[in-house]
């Protein structure tokens, strides 16, 4: 078993035309199921005048209406607490999870049945197996184990796979680092931000993390897992290889994973999710190699079928042939590149948190940072505030780092001048889950808003 390269060789190496035929077969069944049982889809599909009988080819996918987060939230208000999407009540479910709430919007509530949860864990197995995780591994999950779905599915996936799992919840960072080293963990799962914090903590404690047994760091929860500069920093500080994944509470699990070949992106689990990339304004599909918004249809969750869900994630899809691993699953180049609603407009220039992070992480002296956008008089200003590792000892280095950052940021942002400042040690927020490093304090913040018809 352990020497097999794929978790599910039948579909992971399936010819593209067969894979699409399989997706179409599943799509028809999901549409029929949702139209019969979900109050939301019963109404939405009837309004659109479309049903499973109308899906003859994949091109017919576009006849189906989009589903939005707004509709999910409105459904929860209309029929509290679970909304109008679920096909059954909580008596049919065994788990309840919520979204993280980091966007400041109403958290979504998601129910899973026994089979849903077995499926969610299985999607993680696709990813873990592709990263080389095997039953002999000892995996440490540096995660809070709360109602946010986070790495819960990974925990069950690792158990299914046969690995030994250490749940690292409800502990201090110091305690987690000690356990990782003392237990001989070979695999550690964490967010990119927290991976760096764990590494810093290990240095503070005098522990030799690069010399430990850890060989694989599983990243999720933030786009930073695919930012080359951040990943390199993590790999250097852990002495291990870091692999990106991305998932979402709305589908219960991950939809992409990075394989051992690390082709500069992550494979989409295309036998279980149908991923479209569309222009966020025109809704038209964009071709391979162009950035657009992810739209997902999930085949796996029985409690909450999800059809053409608009994610706001920005991605670039490229063909599977970009990777030499043998999988025929297409790839999101560079992972999730950001969120459409993360973008800020500052004096006419687009600023994406990911682009800023990729520059900041090129300087390993920086421990933590924050971007603040404010209005001063009639003008918007953007500040980058940084804390350094061993800040007191590095005071003399700061002017050179500051100048480098200012130049690099201006160069990447059409000459927009960032005011780069040193923050007091320990004054910037630290994160275990999804980091939120961009703070827009303008009276009326102006994210890119997607005009999506309900």
């Amino acid at each position: 078993m352990a020497d097999q390269p794929y978790w599910n060789p039948r579909t992971e190496t399936m010819a593209r035309e067969e894979l699409e035929a399989l997706q179409l077969a599943k799509l028809r069944r999901v549409v029929a199921y949702a139209g019969e049982r979900s109050p939301h889809y019963r109404a939405a599909l009837a309004k659109a005048g479309v049903g499973p009988q109308d899906l003859s080819t994949m091109a017919d996918l576009r006849r189906l209406p989009f589903t939005t987060r707004q509709e999910w939230m409105e459904g929860q208000d209309l029929r509290p607490p679970y909304g109008t999407l679920p096909v059954a009540g909580p008596e049919a479910a065994i788990r309840l999870h919520t979204t993280s709430g980091t966007t400041g919007r109403t958290p979504l509530r998601a129910l899973d049945s026994r089979k849903d949860w077995a499926w969610a864990a299985d999607m993680w197995c696709y990813g873990m197996w592709a990263m080389g995780v095997r039953p002999h591994d000892l995996a440490y999950l540096a995660f809070g184990y709360g109602s946010f779905i986070g790495f819960w599915g990974l925990h069950y996936g690792l158990e299914k796979l046969g690995a030994l799992v250490v749940p690292g919840g409800a502990q201090t960072t110091e305690s987690r680092v000690r356990q990782i080293v003392e237990f001989g963990a070979t695999v550690v799962a964490t967010t990119p931000t927290y991976a760096l914090r764990l590494a810093q903590c290990s240095r503070d404690l005098g522990l030799d993390l690069p010399g430990s047994a850890v060989r694989t760091v599983v990243l999720s929860g933030e786009p930073a897992g695919s930012i080359p500069e951040t990943k390199r920093l993590i790999e250097d500080q852990w002495g291990a290889r870091a692999y990106d994944t991305a998932g979402m509470t709305e589908i219960a699990t991950i939809f992409m994973f990075e394989c051992l070949h690390q082709p500069g992106g992550a494979h989409i689990i295309e036998d279980h999710v149908l991923e479209e990339v569309v222009d966020p304004v025109t809704d038209e599909p964009v071709p391979y190699g162009e950035m657009g918004e992810r739209v997902v249809t999930s085949f796996g969750r029985s409690m909450i079928p999800l059809i053409r869900y608009r994610t706001s994630d920005l991605v670039v899809k490229v063909p599977a042939s970009r990777c030499s691993c043998g999988r025929t699953f297409d790839i999101y180049e560079g992972g999730v590149l950001g969120r459409a609603d993360d973008m800020r407009l500052v004096r006419g220039t687009n600023v994406y948190p990911r682009a800023v992070e990729s520059i900041v992480r090129a300087r390993p002296e920086i421990d933590e940072f924050q971007v603040r956008i404010v209005t001063e008089g009639i003008r918007d200003e953007i500040y980058l505030r940084c804390e350094l590792h061993d800040q007191a000892a590095r005071a003399a280095e700061w002017p050179a780092i500051q100048a480098w950052l200012a130049d690099a940021l201006a160069g990447a942002h059409e000459g927009l001048r960032f005011r780069v400042e040193l923050a007091e040690p320990g004054s910037l927020p630290r994160f275990e889950l999804k980091a939120k490093r961009l703070v827009d304090l303008r009276a009326a913040s102006r994210p890119l808003t997607l005009e999506v018809a309900p």
Partner: protein, 78 residues
Amino acid sequence: MRATAGYGAGAGPTDLLGRPVEDADAELLEVYARLRHLAGRDDLPPCVTANVRHALGFVGVAVTDLGLVFEHLLDRGT
């Protein structure tokens, strides 16, 4: 909705793309059908019903992974 693998013009069951299944697949489908049947019974002790429903969830994922069957099992308590 159709619950299990279909049957083509030949003697055996077919997968979701209408192709005949392999021997190991057929064996797995038998296990799935038995669990599916047991999960729907209401005359078994809780220790049997709960474990069978849990097992059905796992085997249900396996047959879906292989493209043999694709169904939602809420009506079977799974």
